[in-house]
Symmetry: D2
Subunit: 481 residues, 4 copies
Amino acid sequence: MPLKTPEEYLESIKRDLNLYMFGEKVNEFWKHPIIKPSINTVMKIYELAQIEEYKDLMTVKSHLTGEVVNRFTHIHQSVDDLIKKVKMQRLLGQKVACCFQRCVGFDAANALYSVTYEMDKKNSTNYHERFKNYWIDVQNQDLMVDGAMTDTKGDRGKRPANQTDPDQYLHIVDENDDGIFIKGAKVHQTGWINSHRAIIMPTLALKPGEEEYAVSFGVDTDAKGITMILGRQSCDTRKLEKNKLEVGNYKYGGSETFVVFDDVFIPNENIFMKGEVEFSGELVNRFAGFHRQSYGGCKVGVGDVLIGATSLLTEYHGVDKASHVRDKLIEMIHLNETLYCCGIACSSQGFQRESGNYEMDMLLANVCKQNVTRFPYEISRIIDDLVGGIICTLPSEADLKSEKVGPLLKKYLSVCDGVSVEDRYKLLRFIENISMGVAAVSYKVESMHGAGSPQAQRIMIARQANLEEKKQLIKDILDID
Amino acid sequence: MPLKTPEEYLESIKRDLNLYMFGEKVNEFWKHPIIKPSINTVMKIYELAQIEEYKDLMTVKSHLTGEVVNRFTHIHQSVDDLIKKVKMQRLLGQKVACCFQRCVGFDAANALYSVTYEMDKKNSTNYHERFKNYWIDVQNQDLMVDGAMTDTKGDRGKRPANQTDPDQYLHIVDENDDGIFIKGAKVHQTGWINSHRAIIMPTLALKPGEEEYAVSFGVDTDAKGITMILGRQSCDTRKLEKNKLEVGNYKYGGSETFVVFDDVFIPNENIFMKGEVEFSGELVNRFAGFHRQSYGGCKVGVGDVLIGATSLLTEYHGVDKASHVRDKLIEMIHLNETLYCCGIACSSQGFQRESGNYEMDMLLANVCKQNVTRFPYEISRIIDDLVGGIICTLPSEADLKSEKVGPLLKKYLSVCDGVSVEDRYKLLRFIENISMGVAAVSYKVESMHGAGSPQAQRIMIARQANLEEKKQLIKDILDID
Amino acid sequence: MPLKTPEEYLESIKRDLNLYMFGEKVNEFWKHPIIKPSINTVMKIYELAQIEEYKDLMTVKSHLTGEVVNRFTHIHQSVDDLIKKVKMQRLLGQKVACCFQRCVGFDAANALYSVTYEMDKKNSTNYHERFKNYWIDVQNQDLMVDGAMTDTKGDRGKRPANQTDPDQYLHIVDENDDGIFIKGAKVHQTGWINSHRAIIMPTLALKPGEEEYAVSFGVDTDAKGITMILGRQSCDTRKLEKNKLEVGNYKYGGSETFVVFDDVFIPNENIFMKGEVEFSGELVNRFAGFHRQSYGGCKVGVGDVLIGATSLLTEYHGVDKASHVRDKLIEMIHLNETLYCCGIACSSQGFQRESGNYEMDMLLANVCKQNVTRFPYEISRIIDDLVGGIICTLPSEADLKSEKVGPLLKKYLSVCDGVSVEDRYKLLRFIENISMGVAAVSYKVESMHGAGSPQAQRIMIARQANLEEKKQLIKDILDID
Amino acid sequence: MPLKTPEEYLESIKRDLNLYMFGEKVNEFWKHPIIKPSINTVMKIYELAQIEEYKDLMTVKSHLTGEVVNRFTHIHQSVDDLIKKVKMQRLLGQKVACCFQRCVGFDAANALYSVTYEMDKKNSTNYHERFKNYWIDVQNQDLMVDGAMTDTKGDRGKRPANQTDPDQYLHIVDENDDGIFIKGAKVHQTGWINSHRAIIMPTLALKPGEEEYAVSFGVDTDAKGITMILGRQSCDTRKLEKNKLEVGNYKYGGSETFVVFDDVFIPNENIFMKGEVEFSGELVNRFAGFHRQSYGGCKVGVGDVLIGATSLLTEYHGVDKASHVRDKLIEMIHLNETLYCCGIACSSQGFQRESGNYEMDMLLANVCKQNVTRFPYEISRIIDDLVGGIICTLPSEADLKSEKVGPLLKKYLSVCDGVSVEDRYKLLRFIENISMGVAAVSYKVESMHGAGSPQAQRIMIARQANLEEKKQLIKDILDID
């Protein structure tokens, strides 16, 4: 059985990376306190897949190999698979309260599976076979695969070829019989450094004349020519401090990488699109669709933790019986479950592509993500309300532990009888972290921009909603020709 | 096959009713212009069930009789049944743009099916068999069945037995060997007069000592002792005017009836609950749950028509290309599809009861309805924005047709070339009707209060959301005992 | 003193109008039940001006005549005048719970006062003197003056001159030494028929080549060549029924008129703009600004009545102590007072024009109106929530009074002890009327479109907000050149 | 003239404090990088008061001394003073984009001025004279005065005297002929360490039996027995890093202090309330009212900077012409100006107290603050939308400057031609800081909880809104007795 244990996964990613942080090269990144939580998070995926209770969600029999594989490497074979994907994502969100980073490659694979099939059908290429072989390898080794879409884009008002610097959109700069050479950068890469591989896709729908930008391929994350620079995040350096509770969610987290490709060579067998501009838009849309579905699971799981944390804290403070507190908790639940409804609905209404795999409903997946750009913000606002101003005035853990002022803080931070000051402190830091720290990156900004900014969904909603059909409905009722 | 044609249905409801309107008894109600649209609407249900294209949604094989029956009489046997219910409701909403009135009895039957089973199991009663027999009859005759829940309630701060007038909650006032006698009133009955039968349920969860109020039964809508008074609706009398376009949706509509029971006799075989206070709450919840699911279909269908109408009107006016207009249409679609997501999700996550039938997910159904109390209002606000002030200043159809001022109106109501003034007039009246007329009753106030007022859903959301489990999630992450 | 009594006002508007309704000419319109409430409303203005308690708000010393005049005819001479205008409007909204129709002309006059001054200064015309003379007459006779802006516009995608029918925008069609001839139509005229005069303005900012549309003038509402057609409103014909409580707000209301100009002659002395396209935009903006300010008063007053009505009804129903009910009432108050803040603020920040009169702050007035397009809708949604479904299922007053079913209704419509069924009935009809009836025209659609649709305010907000200055602020803080 | 220069202010606060941070005593706090920005901010107040352009807003003639004083020490003598207060606050928000910390003491003084007068009038005490003398000293020395209200509160479900630890609410623990001894803690003290003095007030309305908690007094911030512990804030330690741009707003900021009183002696002449429980609620309300007014100025000024920053960044990115971008900027402006309307309106409607000073309108001030708990969150959400995901994935300034990866980042972070990468970097960090860093503390959490949490305003809104009067309005219209 190809399922890696968490420890095996950890060992397997210990490799030398061309990775920079704070202007310095990072060695043995897997030991770095700023990066470690993101590795812990991925390890949790491998861990849960080993536990009987979660096997139904976390694993599935591959249609490619017949083996039981981690669901994150699965190509959906049914509506049930689509629904279980969302449930698995909610489960993981509940366990780690942050982005677990393995969805992007997962969603990219499911998009490529059908798009390569359709390209081949039209153009007699053999991308689909290539991709299947590539992915069988992923399944057999239970690899962590990232996906990469967002280019740096330069002047957003210009097409790729009109940029002052043509590398603002990742593109093919050369080729030979064995493969192609790639230049450009992919940004906002949440799981790059702790992934084995990555699938690269174009960042937008391309037009004839833009063939060099219509490129998709698999690449080892540590391939020659790749430079990684870790992004800064709010409160990142708290992870370097000796008092771990300051971190908030001190076990789990994410990291964001700026990935530069400098004449990276991609062998032919790993290329899944090369110049097919007419399919680039569809690849973008399908990947985005799958990924917009994902948010109806993962962010809901994080929401569950937040609701639990807020509820617990109101108990600690002795305000949990107040009617306005109860009502605000209900509102949080309502909004969170509305997101879940969207995640489930776009899965439930999935359909089979000609290539055999199942795809979510595109309209509802975009509706799902559009709500994700709104409700986590409102949930977070309610949390700020319920937890009180103390989340931004709480003294340091060092003060809490100090001989001098520690006793004062312990005295004055006491709340209801029987509640430990340390537990209250943990919750407050956890919530500060979600409201304004590292976790806000994942719960808020990523909810806004991950899988496409709000306007991207609105464009898709406009396209998917059959306005002509709706106009016919009213014409029928009112006898308008 | 037991499927009635629309005409057979119409014939079958031609009966003498003890019905009052404007202080007068109504004879041959099926000819009354104020009531006719609501009959047309129900006829549409029977009509669609005859059409090949819609058979998959509109009909289904009964597990009770083995016959193909109208889905509105079906006891759900699978998750697929639950999903098709919602799709059928969206379809009907699209065809009639109003409440089609056959869901209440449908939802009541599905709730009673499992509750009677569970009562029998606990108390060795035989309600389940009774109910099945009663319902087989309904299926075999393709009967239109209403459901009735809301009592008049008197002083809302007091329990039923503490009311100054004990009849404020419908109750058993007497009984003999053959049956019981009922007194009280059921209000907000949308489909009573054009239904053959009705299922009566308690209006709230009852407590020991309130046994006389814990009563559920089937009754013929024209049973002896029943008095009906038709409720007024905004713009109801426009249907009495000679110019039909003034009505807006001149084909379809609903009607609301105030139903008074004065010592109505119910024979034993039609009684499905009698004094089982401990099951009353569950009957209320399950019915409400099924009915809150329903709103994720029917109101979405109406929303489709409204989006179509608004879109068409912006074309007529020549503003459909304006970016703010397009964006508002997208917002309407987004909100409407979010409701649909909720309807689909609570169906998709349905489960099987011990009695064998399937039930929606209770939490998500309440989330669905809670959104229905919000989004149609916002959709309606956007419509008011997009269509312009003319919906409340438009002169009468009589003026439009008059020799004197008709030409002036035709001249000045012209918009884009090629658009007929009459078509514009139709759309404006249709939208006025939704915004402020008869249809606002159904699209707005019913969205607010049908299947329970907003606070009722919040109470259920609080109950269904497992807060303890959510608190455990954060305790696990932060190592809090 | 030029203040008319209400009775004098009533007598003074008894004139023969070329007015149509339901395809028929209306004679003695002041007796017509559909129109009477709008006359009552205006009479209330005259009545309050006679009452000592209200004199400070309702009257003011004219700077033109030195006489005490009704404030509705005043040209603002100070910030205090601007603030009192808003307070007077709130007061009137509280007294009549609908549009009182005298603001449009009031706001038009205040806009024309400074624009005519500036035109004269630039072009050596004498519009300002003309206008002052015209307005002195208005003050001396305490005339009710309407204002008219909205043209029928035809294809909204085309300029006036490109319309298929050039009359879609009101324009000068001919002229002679004594004056001009006008053709076109002005729609959405709330107070036309019960006004003595009207001030006509262009509907948008015009460009060179569109001089014939750049016209403003005063006109008697019954001038030769004017045809009026009364607009239909939701539930208008309830006012024709014999049971007055059905009307809801049975004393007060508004009416909307479609006014057609067919070669109407305007003598030179009543012309205040003729071809000055470069000032047309400023006239539109100033009028709109004053009128957007007005909404921060009148709708707030109506909101006060609605809050009172809803609060009273929740008492009648016995739910006024429920925490969610109290919270929703607070939300209504909060939203209503936020509108008032906007009305007060744009007045408080008013400034003096070169012509000497005072003008509201343009940015804040637009912010005010933009909120008016949102909050009354939300207030209305909360009302629908708090009052219950009964507002759309309540039987007729005739049923309530009938011998047959009246006793049943009285029994079952009883609520808390001591509450009369008739009082409850009055409140329910009043609220139905606001939610879906005649009053919804004024409280909702007029809030949306009166003084310009939402997008119009957004354009003004964009223009008025000094973005360059705001960019400089951040440049200063971050030392960006 | 008593106006200090910024440099004089800086010198005057260089004193030894019993201040802790990260478990260590802080020496020469004015040099500490984490604290310095908050001192810079206060210096800006002193600086602007020296500049001719700002004198009208920043300074005013004292009614106590006849001297020109900094407005932050003024007791409002007119409505104009109240309005200028708000304008001064907007100005300062525009200059520093954060909390400038001098309002709390300012608002406390204005509340105490009238409450002491009224206590004296009722009880023949001499608090008012004491307070005036105390405050004349403040004016003459142009002192920075903090205000302190929030106690630690322990179990929020219990009254002060029922707490397990009686010190959870600050109280008098002993007294002698010369004064009183104080124990307890005041939290969320934004400007304590860089203030010369502080005014202490009770945290809630007290009841008979709670006299020891009904205490108000002035105290030197470095008085014997006071221990200060600096609160942590998101990203606080970035200020310790060598690359200053990482800080975002690297010049200005705030700091939050936890202040513990351990038997602090207060001499009689500095005591302004001692046991007058019946006035404690009024002191809390008036202070809160003045402070809720303040938010209608300061947060609007910060909002101006944010709108400028976002607008500038969209230009840099080349998306400023997109209609949805423009529309979102308009929405930000609209929300920001709505807050300003509330700040202005509650000032404009101010009134004179018997003590002679002017107070804002209490209802509108609470409405103002309630909006502040909402709109900055929505503005911030829009900012997150418009600026893109890069705010949470941007590599460090050290990377940008490094020889190794700096050139890569400069290449790929380029946007529109002519935009410097460093300027873009500054804006992104500034916005990250507002969205998730130190400035989020001030713009979001402080907007939520400063001057009282949302529920506190709702309680006041309910109390201030005259519901009885509103009920009378509808009774008058409907002739209900």
